[in-house]
Amino acid sequence: MFADYTSSELTAIFAMQGFAGLILFSVFVLMALGLAIIFGQMGVINMAHGEFMILGAYITYLTSQLFSAYLPSLFDGYFFIAMLLAFVVTGALGALVEWAMIRHLYKRPLDTLLATWGLSLILQQLYRTVFGAREVGVSLPDWLMGSYAITDIIEVPINGIFVMVLTIFITIGVYLLMQKSRLGKQTRAVVQNRAMAGAVGINTEKVDRYTFALGCGIAGVAGSAFTMVGSTGPTAGQLYIVDTFLVVVFGGASSLLGTVASAFTISQAQSTMEFFLSGSMAKVLTLLTVVGILMLRPQGLFSLKVRR
């Protein structure tokens, strides 16, 4: 299949597809980070994770509308405020959901799946009622428009670069939070041995709530970033949820590094194959490979050894 292209064209194709893959990678990583915390650390299957992401996207959309209507002079910087808002609002909703629903189900992980699926249906219909069934897009500030030409045939869009830089910062932030901060240490302690963590004075219920809220908040930020590269509709979240779960499981559920590595592998494989095969076949092949590898190595790429 490579015979029709010259070598310089091939390089350009791989570079451009690689870059498209990197944008997909950013979305995957941002969604999977939140999920890795919720699923990997707490063992809760949050099927409504995509809807939390979309909530973040809608909040970004509303903020952009608000800024363009009332504060056009500050429009260049609206994105950062929107991101903060998205984090706070989705995090708060996450804490509410944990309090109302999830905390009753920690011993029944399969049931969290059904309950959060119900939640995702409700949220989807809510978005449809409030925002309409049509997809909405945000208008980007001027400094995010256009593209940057590396060579004559390789061009990369600036908003893509921005999203990637953002992803890197958020990933580092989450890593530091989980490894260095008090909350992160407490979370990991609760995961490794709940009874012992409680015995040394950690309020495990509170840690559960904050962890879930944090995971949801990161999903909100992911949604914020998502508006930079795609448009938002009520069911957009569901498109990514299965992929994201596979990313998390493939990476080894409780390892953040594994999550990043598997997001990179899956997104790159998919976008590179997309150029040569049809989009659906590329996706089928990627998912099949991942499922196949998971059958051979159920614990994922990077696994954390925890005594159970």
Partner: protein, 405 residues
Amino acid sequence: MSSQISAAPAQNSSPVDWWKYLLLAVILLVVLPLALDIFRLNLIGKYLTYAFVAIGLVLCWGCGGILSLGQGVFFGLGGYCMAMFLKLEASNPEATAIQSTPGIPDFMDWNQLTELPWFWQPFHSLSFTLLAVIAVPVIFAFIIGVAMFTRRVGGVYFAIITQAIAAILTILIIGQQGYTGGVNGITDLRTFVGWDIRTESAQYLLYFVNVALLFACLFAALYIKRCKLGRLLVAMREKEDRVRFSGYNVASFKIFVFCIGAAFAAIGGAMFTLQVGFMSPSFVGIVPSIEMVIFCAVGGRLSLLGAVYGTLLVNLAKTSFSESFPELWLFAMGALFIGVVLAFPDGLAGLYQTYIQPWFKHFINREKVGLTPPAPIPEKTTTPAKEPVASSLSSSLEESRNVPA
């Protein structure tokens, strides 16, 4: 993996309440056909095909604790096998004479295919088709089961991977339009071995065949649930390692029950195709697969009859809701998911056992008391021995629950 379901094993030793099965048979075979017109009855028949899946899920999920989110795959494979046979019969050279290549299904012609693909060829034969309806999904389930259960993948991971498989199959069917009919599916099915399936009499007959098959599956499932295998499944759900250390090959039991679930789903899928007259990827993917799980959960994940009633009720509610308030349906469905999981983990069957059954018993016992006057012992002692057993069982369940999984 443990789950909070109460007093399940007690059912295994108690005698079967045959009148409940008789009641269901009367409802399905006498009351509904007399009360409903053929359109509604056909709709009920369509819902009952989902009940096959729900019965399989009672065995896999309720008893065995294996939550498969890919039952739609088996339902779809069974349905597609049947649809391929019907489609080949519908597209004989005379009927498709206007196509550029007569004798192949219309969607292949639209996608510039000039000959029948190899995997369509055997579906000219009825006996092969009837075999394939069961065999293809079961073999597929067997491969998945062997790959997963022998490597001890279970619980949450199994659910996610089966869900991914459902997603893959849907994308594949939609993507390979020329071979599968794409997003529209295989439509315009007319006859089954020369017998027009669209007439009213045919729909009546298919409905009764469907109910008969449903009862066959119900009794097969009842047998499995009540024999030693059923008890082992429950034991595996509660404490898998203990069963393994007792010398049982846990993986082979799981594979078996997963294949049984797949076979039931496949029968349902084939009957769906026959009664509804088409098959499309919208019955294969993630959303229908999860909906089938909720049918089972609403009925009570441990109750075979509950699965049938749950399927019927949820679908009736879905149809009437989405006819009158399409906006509200998703809210109601979402609330149903959350409510069933949080408030009624035993579903309709649980409600029946806690509220209606004691009332019945009370009623019957009072009659007995009335017939034999010198029996001054009140209700407390008329249901003896049961309570200590139930409480000791539930306390042993409690104990196993407290140990982290």
